[in-house]
């Protein structure tokens, strides 16, 4: 057992980012090593992780600004750990996929590593102050990735992304401050300790419902914008379309998951204490996101935009499962986070590869590419099948659990609408894939060839992962199941756990 494993997990990519910034063309090697070590560490953590425990594990806590009650506290439980694993996996694969990057590679890889630092921090922080810092750190590398490596409208997209999500974060920060200033520890001090504050929200004498509703709404907005959920999703397609492929992959696979993580970590413990109307609101948002996202994807002409809207639709399942508040649906929602994180990588990689091999992403201009790039076609098809929920791959298990679990608590006609989207989801995936890949090869694409081996390798690894978790979901749903029981119960603070 390695002590301070989470700190190491965060520090190594940070160090790697600094080194690769100065490593020039060697940056990719630095980045690969600096992302492989956290992957190894997180796998080690997986081995040691107690799947049956509802308590925080691998906790580290140090005073940081004692006068303000700010601490450096990190730790993982079943909510955070699967996402830590996801982050380390995706970071490695995205660095491999970007192996051929020639434009300022030192900065490029440094930013990817910095991104990993940010998301790992978010998924492990147990102190609101620290959490918020990591939350904001993530914006910076993504802003530069879009702004410097992006497409023609990159400035617009980068600024829109930054401002939209930043404003939402500020609202969230205000809510955090409201929590901070309302609650006093028995010793009469203030604290940013996440679990303590969340546990306190259940106490009506400290947080009257009116106040808590406002705080809750602020936090919820911050997370829903990040997910993103309808109607706060419009920053996402623009950011995706303009972002470089690696940026899109990280954005969809990891950054969106921060929103979902917030739902489980922060929103759900408060849900029993706030106005019941919030449940309705969140459920409506979730259902609209699922269905609307699917229809939007069907209407897109750009394959990357299609994939972007499919994210809106798929992340809607996370919201739905969370708010339906049954063990099955919450476990499914957590698994959907993980599963979507994996599968969306291969979708964005496909779009990116098509872009740089063929020169366009407009679906109507594509045709017959399978003829020239059969290996790529197989991988892309497998990815699309995974995304449309083919059994045997992880997406099906997640959506099945969410749907089954949600049925118990949500009105059946809302479920009918969601079922409709399952058919629409198949339609846009198949339509795009068929137009791009099948039919006779177009004359202008006769010279198209298979993409680089490293791109195929990254895609293939993702397919393998999706299959592994589709065939043996228990590998990770065992952890999530425990976490689901836990989020539906009152929060246990670190003090109660006896870890501090």
């Amino acid at each position: 057992m390695i002590s301070n494993v989470i700190s190491l997990l965060i520090a190594i990519p940070l160090l790697g980012a600094v080194v690769s910034f100065f490593a020039g063309t060697k940056a990719k090697f630095v980045a690969l090593i600096a992302s492989l070590i956290p992957l190894a560490l997180s796998l080690q953590m997986y081995m040691e992780f107690d799947k049956t425990s509802k308590l925080m594990q691998f906790v580290e806590s140090y005073d940081w600004v004692p006068s303000l009650g700010v601490k450096y506290t990190v730790g993982v439980d079943g909510i955070g750990f699967p996402l830590v694993l996801l982050s380390t996996i995706v970071s490695v694969l995205v660095i491999i996929y970007s192996w051929g990057e020639t434009k300022k590679p030192n900065q490029y890889f440094a930013l990817l590593l910095l991104n990993e630092v940010g998301v790992l921090g978010v998924f492990t922080s147990l102190d609101f102050f620290l959490f918020y810092i990591f939350w904001e750190i993530v914006l910076i590398p993504m802003f530069f990735l879009i702004g410097s490596w992006g497409g023609p409208r990159k400035d617009y997209a980068a600024i829109k992304f930054f401002i939209y999500t930043h404003v939402a974060s500020l609202v969230m920060l205000l809510a955090i401050f409201a929590l901070y200033f309302t609650y006093q520890t028995p010793e009469g001090t203030r604290t940013f300790d996440m679990l303590t504050l969340l546990a306190a929200t259940a106490d009506k004498t400290i947080f009257p419902t009116g106040l808590l509703n406002i705080i809750f709404a602020g936090l919820l907005l911050g997370f829903l914008v990040k997910m993103p959920a309808f109607p706060f999703h419009t920053w996402l397609p623009d950011a995706h379309v303009e972002a470089p492929t690696a940026g899109s992959v990280v954005l969809a696979a990891l950054l969106l998951k921060m929103g979902g993580y917030g739902l489980f970590r922060v929103i759900m413990p408060m849900l029993p204490s706030v106005d019941k109307a919030f449940v309705t609101i969140i459920a409506v948002i979730a259902v609209i996101s699922i269905v609307y996202g699917a229809f939007m994807a069907l209407a897109q002409k750009d394959i990357k935009k299609l994939v972007a809207y499919s994210s809106v639709s798929h992340m809607g399942f996370v919201t739905l499962g969370a708010v339906a508040f049954t063990w099955m649906s919450v476990t499914g929602a957590m698994f959907q986070q993980f599963s979507h994180g994996i599968i969306t990588c291969v979708l964005f990689m496909s779009a990116g590869t098509i872009q740089h091999v063929v020169g366009t992403r407009v679906i109507a201009d594509l045709g017959g590419l399978a003829d020239r790039m059969p290996k790529f076609a197989v991988l892309m098809m497998a990815g699309f099948m995974a995304s449309l929920g083919l059994p045997g791959m992880s997406g099906f298990v997640a959506e099945f659990m969410v749907l089954t679990g949600s049925y118990a608590t949500l009105p059946s006609y809302t479920m009918f609408v969601v079922f409709l989207s399952v058919a629409i989801t198949a339609a846009y995936h198949l339509w795009a894939m068929q137009k791009a890949m099948f039919g006779p090869i177009l004359k202008k694409y006769m010279n198209v060839h298979e993409p680089h081996a490293y791109e195929l390798f990254s895609m293939a690894m993702i397919i393998v992962l999706s299959l592994i978790f589709g065939i043996q979901p228990g590998l990770i749903t065992d952890i999530m199941g425990t976490a689901a029981t836990q989020v539906m119960e009152p929060v246990i603070t670190l003090t109660q756990m006896g870890v501090i």
Binding site: I163, F232, P391, F400, Y407, P411, P440
Partner: protein, 685 residues
């Protein structure tokens, strides 16, 4: 001993799939022999299991999977006969494919996908729970998609594949909804399950069906039926099946005739207790089946593509099987045996017909029957084996199809006596048309003048061999196996804790005025259905096996024979040059509206693809897109442009944008609040 290796029935084809996928390119014929061997091993294992457990035992193995679900193997009479049929027929088809696909550059891909299909189909059959069945159900759908689009460079093949996947997907969504509904209903019963028992396992479902509220049962049954309708090409989701003929003929024979399309029928049979208990459950099954049987047969009359004729015929025959299950409302579990018997018999003669058609196409290089004629002169083996298949399909006495199809018509008659004659009438009409279109095909392909200059040679022995074996079964299976088959299948549900008497009461299958309702239902449970006394004075006696026809009036028993022979003769008068009396083109001109309607397939393509998919669904998508651009996002960009234009003196662009996005965000919240308030006001949520 064989039972311990039951998992290999699926595992071996999976292995063959992986081998063909990764190293098939380096093997002769794409590694086709691996796929054949894997399937053949499955046949041997199935036979071994049969010898072990026939007639009184079942095999049930199970292990936990994730959450509240398990994976398991359940081999009862129903599953076992399906396993035997699929491994047997598919082994022959794979063997044939080694000849048929020889030289195709994609042979390795073909055999990989074919092996994956085999694994999925067999997994579907012996799944011990509904979730696992659904998973394999979707996988066979995937394989069907891949194999229909096998020649993916052909736009029509790619389009047909997409159509097949999406159409069946609609059914699958309903199926999934049915499963979820069933799961939640069972979960709400708070059952105490023994270790190793899971909610979606069939034995658990059978045991607790009676506790689920009747209205919920109907919804569940309709959901499951939706899935079956999609997969088995029943109206109105049958449109994909004729188009599916774009794939290689072996695919049509294997997936779209003999095995996969029967999965829907198998599902209804598997869930028969639930359908039996659901009010309107079996009525819906009977209605869909009987209508499809007739409807598809009319389209089979006018098609010129030999494979399309057979495709419509498949749709029609699947309708017979569905109807056979549906009329179980009158005869109880006996219907399962009758329907599955037709399923098995059909898979023999339909695989034979498709492979025969493939043999013809292989030689003459066209699918169009107008360009064939007189082929029999050059392809004796193909002609005579196909004759046996055609006679069987038409229901000529003593052939397999005669025993199986006519038994469905007989129980439909009993259903008519008790409940409603409509299915019976439709099925009899469909049977007439079946004989006509089958022999229209056979006569115009094999007899008469050569209507074009086609290739003239018989197919290689690797293709003829399977034809001959299938012909033996297409002829003799019905005669040899009928009685044992019925009694074996009838025992299927005796292995479970299922109370058909009670289910019949829930489902309302006990007719008003019936003297001893519970007694009748009880007898149904024992597989000896008793038909209610009727105004005709002809009471169906309790039947045992296939010899119960004595209870029907003589004309009911003679009718199918007359129908078959009459239909064949009628087809001969039009299409057999030796006895030709009429010219089809003179009877109906090209302008004839009915003929046009049939040729156009009742304009279903126009309605479904043109109107529903392109207008309704895609239109909705475009509207959403407009809302997104103009409203959700658009006004925000518009506002920022307006503010910038209005306040040109603001030098820092970003500042203006920040404010706009803040406003946008706030407005988004406001809009949402308004929407939700309204929704709550009108009581939507």
């Amino acid at each position: 001993m064989y039972a311990d290796y039951a998992y290999l029935i699926v595992a071996l084809p999976v292995l063959a799939f992986l081998l063909c996928l990764f190293v098939g390119w380096h093997l002769p014929r794409g590694g086709g022999f691996l796929t054949v061997l894997a399937t053949f091993a499955g046949l041997i294992l199935s036979l071994g299991i049969f010898s072990e457990i026939y007639p009184n035992e079942i095999i049930h193995q199970s292990m936990p999977w994730f959450a509240n679900f398990n994976v398991g193997i359940l081999i009862d009479p129903l599953a076992l006969v399906m396993l035997l049929m699929v491994t047997f027929v598919v082994t022959l088809i794979h063997t044939y494919a080694n000849g048929y696909m020889n030289g195709d550059p994609g042979a390795a891909r073909y055999f990989a996908e074919a092996a994956l299909f085999t694994a999925s189909m067999l997994g579907l059959i012996y799944a011990d729970n509904l979730l696992q069945l659904f998973i394999f159900w979707e996988l066979v759908g995937l394989c069907s998609y891949l194999l229909i689009g096998f020649w993916y460079r052909k736009p029509s093949a790619a389009a047909a594949a997409k159509k097949a996947f999406l159409t069946t997907r609609v059914g699958d969504v309903l199926f999934l909804a049915g499963i979820i509904l069933l799961y939640n209903n069972l979960a709400s019963l708070n059952l105490t399950l023994a270790p190793g028992e899971y909610l979606l396992q069939f034995p658990v479902i059978y045991a607790h069906v009676a506790q689920i509220p009747a209205d919920q049962l109907t919804l569940i049954a309709l959901g499951l039926l939706g899935g079956a309708v999609g997969k088995s090409g029943q109206f109105p989701l049958h449109v994909w099946l004729p188009d599916a003929m774009e794939g290689p003929t072996t695919v049509s024979a294997m997936i779209h005739a003999a095995t996969m399309v029967t999965a829907g029928v198998y599902l209804v049979a598997r869930m028969f207790p639930l359908f039996y208990a659901a009010p309107y459950g079996l009525t819906a099954v009977a209605a869909v089946g009987a209508f499809t049987a007739l409807f598809a047969a009319t389209m089979g009359l006018t098609a010129f593509d030999i494979k399309r004729v057979l495709a419509f015929s498949t749709v029609s025959q699947l309708g017979f099987m569905m109807a056979g299950l549906g009329v179980g409302a009158a005869v109880g579990t006996f219907a399962v045996g009758v329907s599955i018997f037709h399923l098995i018999g059909h898979s023999f003669f339909k695989a034979l017909l498709f492979l025969g058609a493939g043999s013809v196409i292989h030689a003459v290089n066209t699918n169009d029957m107008r360009e064939m004629g007189g082929v029999g002169k050059y392809m004796k083996w193909t002609m005579y084996t196909m004759l046996i298949g055609s006679l069987s399909l038409a229901g000529f006495p003593l052939f397999t199809g005669f025993f199986s199809k006519d038994e469905i018509i007989v129980i439909a008659y009993e259903y008519g006596v008790m409940i409603n004659f409509l299915p019976y009438i439709m099925l009899v009409l469909a049977a007439v048309l079946t004989a006509i279109y089958t022999f229209r095909m056979w006569f115009s392909v094999f007899t008469g003048k050569e209507r074009s200059d086609y290739g003239k040679h018989e197919s290689p022995m690797i293709m003829i061999g399977p034809l001959v074996i299938l012909a033996v079964f297409a002829f003799g299976f019905g005669f040899a196996a009928q009685e044992d088959f019925y009694s074996y299948l009838d025992s299927n549900f005796e292995h479970y804790d299922v109370d058909f008497a009670q289910l019949g009461i829930i489902g309302g299958h006990v007719l008003e005025g019936h003297a001893a309702p519970e007694g009748a239902a009880l007898e149904e449970e024992q597989g000896a259905p008793e038909v209610a006394e009727s105004g005709h004075g002809a009471a169906g006696e309790g039947e045992e096996g296939g010899e119960g026809e004595a209870g029907e009036p003589w004309y009911i028993q003679i009718l199918p024979i007359i129908v078959a022979i009459g239909g064949i003769l009628l087809a001969g008068l039009f299409y057999f040059d030796k006895i030709k009396k009429f010219d089809p083109s003179q009877v109906t001109g090209d302008k004839d509206p009915i003929r046009k309607l049939l040729l156009k397939g009742y304009y279903q393509h126009e309605i479904l693809t043109g109107w529903f998919a392109e207008t309704v669904v895609y239109g909705t998508a475009l509207i959403c897109n407009m809302i997104d651009i103009k409203l959700v996002d658009g006004w925000l960009n518009w506002l920022s442009a307006w503010v910038l234009g209005f306040a040109q003196h603001i030098r820092k662009v970003q500042t203006g944008v920040v404010q706009n996005y803040v406003t946008a965000l706030v407005l988004g919240v406001v809009v949402l609040v308004v929407v939700i308030t309204l929704a709550m006001e009108v009581g939507l949520v």
